[in-house]
């Protein structure tokens, strides 16, 4: 059964209240906008690559607490990492929130395991995953990401409003 109490943990509420890396980066090398058309939530991710390394990253936008905390913790987690490491984390995060990966089975998920609870809440999976889709889109220099994109793994799981 859905348990929202385990989802709205202190760490998520804290990142929602005081999001890390909030804003935009001047002279960013990569940028993408992500939108969830089902609820109108949108965030943008800007980042600066130094070779293969993510030298700086920031996000901003309007979203629910789950999405904002996910974005905040994502930026903290990938800052200083290589693009390849970040892409791996994107995959693992996505697998975790869609129930395909146990957080304990990953060496990289770490504190992001607080989002594992959304796997039982299909209507909230998209909230958690939007920042990660957007980061992926930024790497690929795709102009915008959407939770309704054709290759969205959640598309078959969640009906539209």
């Amino acid at each position: 059964m859905a348990d929202y109490k385990s989802l709205y943990q202190e760490v998520i509420l804290d990142h929602n209240k005081k999001p890390r890396n909030y804003g935009t980066i001047a002279h960013a090398s990569h940028h993408a906008d992500g939108e969830n058309p089902l609820c109108g939530d949108h965030i943008s991710v800007t980042l600066k690559l130094d070779g293969e390394n993510i030298a700086a990253i920031a996000f901003e936008g309007e979203s629910c607490a789950i999405c904002k905390a996910s974005a905040s913790m994502m930026t903290a987690a990938v800052k200083g990492k290589t693009c390849a490491d970040a892409e791996m984390l994107i995959r693992e995060f996505r697998d975790m929130v869609t129930g395909k990966l146990e957080p304990a089975a990953s060496d990289h998920i770490g504190r992001l395991a607080v989002f594992a609870g959304v796997r039982d809440l299909p209507s909230r999976v998209k909230c958690a995953i939007l920042p990660w889709h957007t980061l992926h889109a930024a790497f690929s220099s795709v102009a915008s990401a959407s939770t309704e994109a054709e290759d969205d793994p959640m598309r078959t799981l969640i009906g539209s409003a």
Partner: protein, 419 residues
């Protein structure tokens, strides 16, 4: 304009009477997250009482066959029961004739039927269709599709900050190119009850037909389509204690007869050759294929159930709930009601400062409370109020004052979590 709108009257039913009605709804006994279910999402879909469930079971266990076809016993029984359901719906909305009741899959399907059957035949390039800012996407998108196909134009009636249509502006939109009006009777997002009778009279004086989206009105107040004099009235079964997958398009017989069919197939034809097909008469002309027979019969039972309680009693009880909930929410600092029309049905949209509606919905669910959060399929309306989404509590006659208290406690808890 002499067609003045009569406000609904608030008159709470005695608690014991509501408890007796609640006993008819097995789902209301559910516990969610260890808490009693507080179901306040009735504008999205209402719950089904035992007599309607029983009717579905009886049909399926002793009466089912296809209708309007074979001559065997079960086919005769199913056909009779299906057509009896049509008569029940006819009486429920006081249509003049039973053939004016078309079974559709729901309100959306009914509006699409009118768009294809009436709109594509009678609306052309340069013609204008009047809609309102309050409309549900179901009464916007079909007309946009038509406007795009035909080169017609959509004109939109604005609203004030309370969420009421500006009737002066509505009247100013009319000109010689105006060919159609689509308006919702009750706003699903705000609860506003629109003065549709007055709007219909104004349109008719200019020879313009009117479709009323009654999805949110039919479950909550007495509807008399002859008194309204609307050309079309669309509503859904599952919002009035009936099954999903069934709804009704009421249309004046003269309008329906002039329209072209929407879907082609069995049951809607008189004769078919590969050279030419002649169509059946109404209502069958618009009911191609095997309809959801059980759902139609279940909807008939739902209409009986609501009628037995009395639509005026239902409206009075729901308004009492709305008045109490409005007063309680207004007493909470940091909570704002969106939609404060003078005439409202029991829909309460609200926003909490600093908390996203999705988080509100999730946390209320933790307390067993079901509300809808989001844009309510009314994005233009949300933009008008400069919000991306709201939380919406919508009441039915089986809700209680104690459930309003649970909602208020739930909102306080949300504020505490996000403090």
């Amino acid at each position: 304009m002499n067609a003045v709108q009569t406000p609904l009257k608030s008159r709470p039913a005695p608690a014991f009477y509501i408890e007796r009605l609640r006993a008819d709804f097995p789902i209301l006994k559910l516990e969610v997250n260890g808490k009693p279910l507080v179901y306040l999402d009735n504008a999205a879909s209402s719950q089904m009482p035992q007599p309607v469930i029983d009717r579905l079971v009886r049909y399926q266990t002793t009466q089912h066959s296809n209708i309007h076809r074979a001559l065997h016993y079960l086919s005769e029984v199913a056909t009779l029961e299906f057509e009896e359901a049509r008569r029940k719906l006819q009486r429920f909305i006081n249509a003049r004739e039973e053939r004016e009741v078309i079974f559709t899959s729901g309100t959306t399907d009914a509006i699409n039927l009118v768009m294809h059957g009436y709109g594509r035949k009678f609306i052309g390039a340069g013609d204008e269709i009047i809609l309102t800012t309050l409309e549900h996407h179901a009464n916007i998108v079909p007309w946009q599709m038509l406007a795009e196909e035909k080169g017609a134009k959509i004109r939109v009636v604005p609203i004030n900050d309370a969420g009421e249509l500006l009737i002066d502006e509505y009247e100013k939109l009319f000109n010689e190119r105006t060919k159609f009006v689509g308006v919702m009777h009750v706003s699903n997002a705000l609860g506003t009850i629109n003065p549709v009778k007055q709007m219909i009279a104004f349109a008719h004086a200019r020879g313009v037909p009117v479709l009323v989206d009654g999805a949110q009105a039919v479950p909550h107040m007495k509807i008399d389509v002859q008194d309204l004099d609307c050309d079309f009235y669309a509503f859904s079964g599952h919002k009035m204690c009936g099954p999903t997958g069934i709804g009704v398009l009421y249309g004046k017989a003269a309008q329906l007869e002039n329209m072209q069919p929407f879907k082609g197939g069995g049951d809607m034809i008189a004769t078919v050759t590969f050279e030419k097909t002649t169509y059946n008469t109404i209502p069958n002309k618009f009911e191609a294929g095997t309809p959801p027979i059980a759902a139609a019969i279940g909807l008939g039972a739902a209409a009986d159930y609501l009628s037995a309680i009395g639509m005026d009693n239902i409206a009075a009880q729901e308004l009492a709930l709305l008045d109490y909930a409005t007063e309680q929410i207004n007493s909470l600092p940091g909570v704002r009601i969106i939609g404060t029309a003078r005439h409202k049905a029991a829909v309460l949209s609200f926003v909490i400062d600093g908390v996203h509606p999705h988080d509100i919905g999730s946390l209320l669910s933790q307390e067993g409370i079901a509300v809808r959060t989001g844009h309510h399929c009314a994005q233009p309306l949300m933009r008008r109020f400069k919000v991306s989404a709201t939380s919406r509590a919508s009441f039915a006659f089986y809700n209680t004052m104690a459930e309003v208290d649970a909602l208020i406690a739930g909102i306080r808890n949300v504020q505490k979590v996000f403090a």
